[in-house]
């Protein structure tokens, strides 16, 4: 702001509008905007740098390939292989539900949306879901998955359904990802100009053929972006994992069937591992917590970078 009012040297080209003609209050407002923007950047950057430093200090390749185990010292308690596998499983389960449901909802809301009343209800349901804290979803999940009818999705002993399993956590986590998938895909569909749809109708194509063969392919970058945003949210969620995945650090399968047993059983994810190993957690091993947090952060940052790439690609091929 020091250059305000300084006379432009002759011949120099002013590239941008000078704020010297602005009212004082506008200039103060602009200054505030700059200050707050820089402040937020500083906060974000310091979180990332702090975790990177802590992570680099504590991450050992061995941590990534050993399972957690009981022990008295940090060298005896193993790594976080199981939580990483757990994160992968819940992400896959949640997205396996959220993607088809989310894409279908987005297509219906964007292209069909009749009757209008039902569309409004669906829309506010999705919005409500987006605003619901995940701990509330977790609580609701315990009621659903402890019901005897869904006993086959977790373990049962003496007629009591345990209600905590990868299935339970994945299903409720899909509700966390769903609003993101719906809104991203819907925005992608609505960004397609009307004349593109009409061009398809105008060569005798039905609405369903247009949706399937023109609109969904056109919205593919948005679908991928929605999936990445959804995964980012799912693997970062802690409340549903703590409440619905059970408290075991290791994958504890149920029954003899290999994969199904694991999914019906309990385990942990990187977030619950961090939660338990944080200085305030049950196990209090901050070094392990930092190492796991570092891994989680790297995954989430990679997903965000992927989102950027696809958002740019989506802009590249556009109609004039």
């Amino acid at each position: 702001m020091s250059a305000v009012g300084a006379p432009a040297s002759p011949g120099a080209v002013r590239r941008s509008e000078s704020s010297s003609s602005w009212r004082l209050s506008d200039r103060i407002g602009l200054g505030f905007a700059w200050l707050l923007g820089l402040l937020f950047c500083a906060v974000a950057v310091s979180i990332v740098i702090y975790l990177l430093i802590q992570g680099v200090r504590y991450v050992r390749p061995s941590l990534l390939v050993t399972s957690p185990s009981a022990g008295y010292t940090q060298s005896e308690t193993g790594g976080f292989l199981d939580p990483m596998i757990g994160t992968l499983i819940v992400a896959l389960l949640a997205m396996a539900i959220a993607m088809p449901v989310g894409i279908a909802t987005a297509v219906w809301l964007s292209e069909f949306a009749r009757p209008a009343g039902l569309a409004r209800v669906a829309e506010s349901t999705v919005e409500m879901l987006a605003g619901t804290p995940s701990i509330v979803l977790a609580l609701f999940g315990t009621i659903i998955f402890e019901s005897p009818a869904l006993g086959f999705l977790s373990q049962t002993s003496g007629g009591i359904v345990f209600g905590r399993s990868f299935f339970a956590a994945g299903a409720m986590l899909s509700l966390v990802a769903l609003p993101l998938v719906v809104s991203t895909v819907r925005e992608g569909l609505q960004a397609i100009p009307t004349h593109v749809r009409e061009a398809s109708y105008a060569v005798g194509k039905s609405k369903i053929a247009t949706t399937r063969r023109v609109l969904l392919p056109a919205a593919r970058p948005s679908v991928i972006t929605g999936a990445m945003l959804g995964v980012g949210r799912v693997i970062g969620d802690t409340a549903i994992i703590v409440v619905l995945l059970g408290a075991t650090l290791n994958l504890e399968g149920v029954g003899g069937v290999p994969l199904l047993g694991t999914l019906r059983g309990t385990g942990s994810t990187l977030t619950s591992y961090i939660y338990d190993n944080a200085p305030t957690g049950d196990y209090n091993q901050p070094n392990k917590a930092y190492a796991a947090a570092f891994v989680l952060l790297v995954i989430v940052l990679a997903l965000n970078a992927g989102v950027d790439v696809f958002a740019r690609r989506a802009k590249e091929l556009r109609w004039g």
Binding site: H195, A202, G204
Partner: protein, 306 residues
């Protein structure tokens, strides 16, 4: 290239006596006389690049058509014929109902929820209201103002039209000949034959628009509707597309909406001048631009308004 789709004989004979609903001035004799008389009323005419139509067969009849959006009347009891062998240009200022009229010819107006339509449009004597919209739109296809190839390869853009609804079949090899033919009819094959697999959205604007024409031709329509197809293009691309339109008029009946009066003069055989939803005048191109009967037409083509 010839007629890919020979019309039934009864329409050949029928064309000798145009429908009684026509408000066509008797200017047919002016068509071929080529006396070089420059049009009056200040319209600066470039020489027509186009030889007069050698034949004309009635394909569509618009009879007393009115279209309204809610309570707003967009097209007010309009009647005229659409002929194969000729290019029909719809001209008029913005908001005069040209595009609405064009869209009602293949029932795209139905996509607008508030639109309602009275009157009758026939295609080869059959009321289009009685047809399945998808089969009507395969016979009366449309090209839009903005080039809008689908986000797929050049080949698939055309193959999409040839395949049945949402199917993936028939496969590529079975469609190759038909895709090549459509691209050739649109004058695009030579430019894209080496990269049929490239994304269509990477083509230049003029090529994209010709791809859209190829797509519209792939359905083998009787009537081709063009909604200001050159308004987003540069003069070179415009010339290529105009030449193409004139070439196509023998294979399909062509209706073009245009804001560009010179373009209408260059390529049209008949011109319909619309104003505020009404069809003010329908007639041969020399008549409209040289000796219009209606004062409003004379004023419009001389640039007094619009």
């Amino acid at each position: 290239m010839g007629l890919s789709n020979p019309p039934p004989v009864r329409w050949l004979t029928g064309s000798a006596a145009p429908a009684a609903t026509l408000r066509e001035p008797q200017i047919a004799g002016q068509h071929g006389n080529g006396n070089g008389r420059s049009p009056a009323h200040g319209f600066v005419a470039t020489p027509r690049r186009v030889a007069p139509a050698s034949f004309a067969i009635d394909r569509m009849q618009v009879e007393d058509l009115s279209v309204s959006y809610g309570s707003k009347l967009a097209v007010d009891s309009v009647s005229f014929p659409i002929r194969q062998g000729e290019v029909l240009a719809l001209i008029g200022p913005s908001g005069c109902g040209k595009t609405t009229l064009l869209r009602s010819l293949n029932r795209l107006t139905e996509l607008t929820r508030t639109a309602s339509l009275t009157g009758r449009i026939t295609l080869d004597g059959i009321d289009i209201a009685a047809m399945e919209p998808t089969s009507l739109r395969r016979r009366v296809t449309m090209v839009f103002q903005q080039p809008n190839p689908f986000p797929m390869s050049v080949f698939d853009n055309v193959a999409y039209v040839l395949r049945e609804q949402a199917r993936r079949r028939p496969k590529r090899a079975a469609l190759r000949a038909a895709v090549h033919e459509a691209l050739a009819r649109a004058g695009l094959l030579d430019e894209v034959s080496d990269n049929l697999d490239h994304p269509a959205l990477r083509l230049s604007g003029g090529q994209q628009q010709r791809l859209c024409i190829a797509r519209a031709l792939a359905a083998d329509p009787e009537v081709l509707l063009l909604d200001e197809p050159c308004s987003a293009l540069d003069p070179q691309s415009t010339k290529v597309i105009e030449d193409l339109i004139v070439k196509l008029r023998e294979e399909v009946a062509v209706v073009i909406v245009t804001h560009n009066l010179q373009q209408a003069y260059r390529i049209a055989d008949h011109v319909a001048f619309m104003y505020l939803g009404e069809l003010v005048e329908y007639g041969g191109v020399k008549g409209i631009f040289g000796a219009a009967r209606e004062a409003r037409t004379r004023e419009y083509v001389s640039g007094a308004f619009g």
